[in-house]
């Protein structure tokens, strides 16, 4: 295990440094599948955040009760229950968004991030730390989805969160499937570049300090 993080560091790490999408490349199916607009990205991100927060909390609560051998199936059942809750609640209260996200809501179950955090973090840490980790990771995921959705919406249909800022059509291909891959490729390259610059800066700082 790495060193113990403070609650704040634990929360913030999901945004850039350990962002599930940009750095860990986990759970890319919904990332590519639902981000044709920023709203869809945000909706999916928040749904995943809820599942991640709840499943991390519950798994941290019951981790000592579950025998090690049936750990993974038990985690999956816990996660699937929360996904079902999200699915039904969204179908009831946000039917339009639910129809847009479609298949990807039940597929949160097999999102590697959720099981990944359960296995890597919640099964080894306290309830509070796991809840913070789940929330941070979830919001990091939501952030990535919204960002990708915004980029695709801006280029693809010249609008943002449904507000059209310029007349005419954009590059339609960015709203369609190929644009998802291409936009994500460039975003990951950009985040990589940002991280490398940060590292360089830190190294320089250290040199000056020495």
């Amino acid at each position: 295990m790495e060193k113990v993080l403070s609650p704040r560091e634990n929360f913030v790490k999901g945004f850039i440094r350990e962002n599930p999408v940009f750095s860990l490349l986990l759970g890319l199916c919904p990332v590519l599948g639902v981000t044709s607009t920023a709203i869809n990205g945000l909706g999916m991100g928040l749904a995943t955040t809820f599942v991640l927060l709840m499943s991390n909390t519950v798994i941290a609560l019951v981790k000592n009760l579950i025998p090690d051998k049936v750990r993974i199936p038990s985690f999956i059942v816990i996660i699937a229950s929360f996904v079902t809750i999200v699915d039904l609640v969204m179908a009831g209260f946000l039917p339009a968004l639910h129809a847009q996200l479609g298949l990807f809501i039940p597929l949160i179950v097999v999102n590697c991030i959720v099981l990944g955090r359960a296995e890597a973090f919640a099964s080894k840490n306290t309830v509070a730390a796991s809840a913070i980790d789940g929330l941070g990771m979830g919001l990091g995921f939501a952030f990535a989805l919204t960002l990708l959705g915004a980029v695709r919406e801006i280029i693809g249909s010249l609008s943002l969160f449904g507000w059209k800022f310029a007349p005419g059509d954009g590059l339609l291909v960015f709203v369609l499937a190929p644009g998802a891959f291409i936009a994500l490729g460039f975003l990951i390259a950009l985040v990589d570049w940002y991280k490398r610059e940060q590292e360089k800066k830190e190294k320089n700082k250290k040199k000056v300090a020495v």
Partner: protein
């Protein structure tokens, strides 16, 4: 003719990876080498077809008659997870050669959203059992086609000179985008 349309549309037009975005993790994860890509697509084809049959039966003979379709997600994922385990055990006993070829990929398949995705799509599209089986097999074939093509391209990509920041995943994603664009050309076929 109806079956033919299902097959063509599942393989090319609604390719499970390139236009539905299901199974992206293995698509990026095991497409580094052609040989692993073949192994993974074989394993997916096998499990996807069986899983679709089993979940179809569960949907129509257990969940629907008892009015508990809200348990769909929970039931499906459990069935798929245990099915993969079972396939692994049986394969080990019955066909060690096949187990050797597919073994390492089987555990990965549980979290492959393509399997659960196809099982759910079959219900959504309201297909009958035979149509479901054909749809699942064709989708799996489309998965294999995309991943093998992509692996071939990535092997070549290794040797080309790229800007530092684009190496690895970013370049792979952009290639996937172009591949997806090529598959869009099939859109008018059916």
């Amino acid at each position: 003719m109806e079956y033919f349309i299902i097959i063509i549309s599942a393989i090319f037009i609604n390719n499970i990876i390139l236009s539905q975005f299901l199974g992206i993790c293995p698509f990026l994860g095991v497409s580094g080498k052609s040989s692993t890509a073949w192994g993974m697509s074989g394993a997916v084809m096998f499990v996807m077809t069986i899983a679709t049959i089993v979940t179809y039966l569960i949907q129509h003979y257990i969940l629907e008659p008892y009015g508990i379709t809200f348990l769909q997600t929970v039931a499906y994922i459990l069935v798929i997870a245990s099915l993969v385990q079972m396939v692994e055990i049986i394969l080990k006993k019955v066909s060690p050669a096949m187990y050797q070829a597919l073994g390492v990929f089987l555990p990965l398949i549980t979290t492959n959203c393509a399997i659960l995705g196809v099982a759910l799509l079959v219900v959504q599209k309201d297909l009958n059992l035979l149509q479901s089986v054909i749809f699942a097999a064709a989708s799996a074939f489309g998965f294999g086609l995309a991943i093998v093509l992509f692996a071939g391209i990535r092997e070549r990509l290794e040797m080309s000179e790229l800007p530092e920041g684009m190496k690895g995943v970013p370049a792979a994603l952009i290639v996937a985008g172009i591949l997806s664009m090529a598959f869009m050309g099939f859109a008018g076929m059916v």
